[in-house]
Amino acid sequence: MIWPKFKDWIDERYDIAELKRLAKSKLIPQHRYDFLYYTGGITLFLFILQFITGMLLAFYYIPHIDFAYESIIDIVTKINIGWFFRSLHHWGAQLCIVFVFIHLFGTLLTKSYRRPRELLWVTGFVLLVISIFFGLSGYLMLWDERAFAAVRVATGGAGALPFVGSFIKIFLRGGTDVTGDTLTRFYAFHVAILPLVSMLLIGLHLLFVQYHGMSIPVSLEGKDHKEEPFFPNVFYKDMMIWLVVLGIVMTLAILLPPEIGKKANALAAPPEGIKPEWYFLFLLETLKLFPGSIFGFNGETIAIVCVSMGIFFFFLIPFLDRKSNRGERSPIFTVIGVIYLLYFITMTLVGFLS
C-alpha cells in the first residue's frame, strides 16, 4: 500500500512518464561491432564497484607511514571479510583498466571519435589517464617494498621530462624522494581528488553519449541497420553482462588474492626482479630500448619525450583524422590504430615474460 502512494507522490512532483518515454526513445544501432558498446558499460560498472569497495577499505586504512602497512595487514587478517574486499578492490582495478583499454582501442578502430564526438574521446582519454593514476596511487597505499620501488621509478620517470619533469616529480612526491609525504599526497589523490574529477568526467562523458547518440562505424554509415531501444532491451543485456563481470571479479578475488610483500624501507635496496603493474610494462620496455646516451643527451629523457609525443599524437587522432570526420574511410588511421594496439600488447607481453 505504501508503494502506490509513494509512486503517486513522486508522479505529482516529477514527470516520470516523460523520463520513461525518453529512455524508450533512445535507440541503439545493431551491427557486427555493437559488442563494443557494452565495454563502456562494463567500465562504468567496475568504476562503481571500485567506489564501493574503496569506501569500505577507507574505513580501516590509516594513511600514515608508520601504520599504512600494518592497517592493511589488519584489514586482511583481522577485519571480517576484509581480505575479500581488498582483493575485490585489487581485481576490480585490474579489470577496470583492461576494459578502459578495450573501450579505447574499440573506439579508435571503429572511428567512433570522429566528428562531432571529439569531446567524447577527450573525456575518455583523460579518464584513462586518471584510471592509470588511480592504479599508481592505490598501489602505494600498500606501502610494501614493491609498491615503494614502483612509485619511485614511475615518479622518477616523470622527472626525466625536460623543463616540467622536475616540478612534476617534486609535486607528486611531495619532496625529492618517496616518503611519508608522498603517501599522504597519493592518498589525497586516490580518495578525494581523482574520484571527484573522475565523477565529473564520467558524468560529462555520459552526457555527451546521450547528446550525440551511439556512433556507428564509417563502413555502415548510410546503410540500413537495425536498431533497438536502450530501455528495456539494451539495459537488460547490460545487466546480464554486469552480472557475469561481477562473477569474474569475485572469482578472481577469491582464487587469486593479491600478496603483501615486506614493509617498504627507503634505505634498503629494491628487491630483485621487480616489475611495475602490467599497464606500465609497455612504457618500461620502451625505455629499455633506448641507450643511456644519445648524441650526448640523456637517453632516458629522450625516451620519455618520445613516449610522451607518441601518447600526445594518440590523443590528437580525432583532430588529425580528417577523412573520418568527412564520413570517409581512413585506412591510414586504422593502420596507426593497429600499430598502437600491437605495440602495446607486444611490449606488455615482453615485459611480462622477461
Binding site: V244, T251, I254, P257, E259
Partner: protein
C-alpha cells in the same frame, strides 16, 4: 697429476665422512641448515583465510553465487525474450486513439 690429486681429495673426504667422528660434522651441518632456513624464511602474510571450515564456506559461497548469477541471467533473458516478442507483434506501443474506459 692433477687427476691424482683430485682423486686423493675425494677419497680422503669420503673416508672422513665414513668415520665415527664425522657425526658431529653431520649434526652441525643439519643444525646450521635448519637454523638458517628458520632465520631467513620470509614470513608470508596470509591474504586468504587458512581455516578449513572457512575455506570450505568461501568456495561453497562462490559456487552458490555463480548459481545465483546464472539463475538471474536466465530470468532476465526470459524477460527480454518476452519483451522482444511483444515488440515484434507491435503491441508495446501506446494507441493514442484507443477509447478510454470511464
Amino acid at each position: 697429476m692433477k687427476i691424482k690429486l683430485f682423486l686423493q681429495i675425494i677419497i680422503s673426504l669420503l673416508s672422513f665422512l665414513r668415520r665415527q667422528e664425522s657425526r658431529i660434522f653431520y649434526l652441525s651441518f643439519l643444525f646450521l641448515l635448519t637454523f638458517n632456513s628458520l632465520a631467513f624464511a620470509e614470513e608470508k602474510i596470509p591474504v586468504f583465510p587458512t581455516g578449513p571450515v572457512e575455506v570450505y564456506t568461501i568456495y561453497t559461497s562462490l559456487a552458490v553465487f555463480w548459481l545465483a548469477i546464472i539463475g538471474l541471467i536466465v530470468v532476465i533473458k526470459m524477460k527480454l525474450n518476452e519483451i522482444e516478442r511483444i515488440q515484434k507483434l507491435g503491441i508495446d506501443k501506446e494507441d493514442i486513439n484507443a477509447p478510454l474506459l470511464d
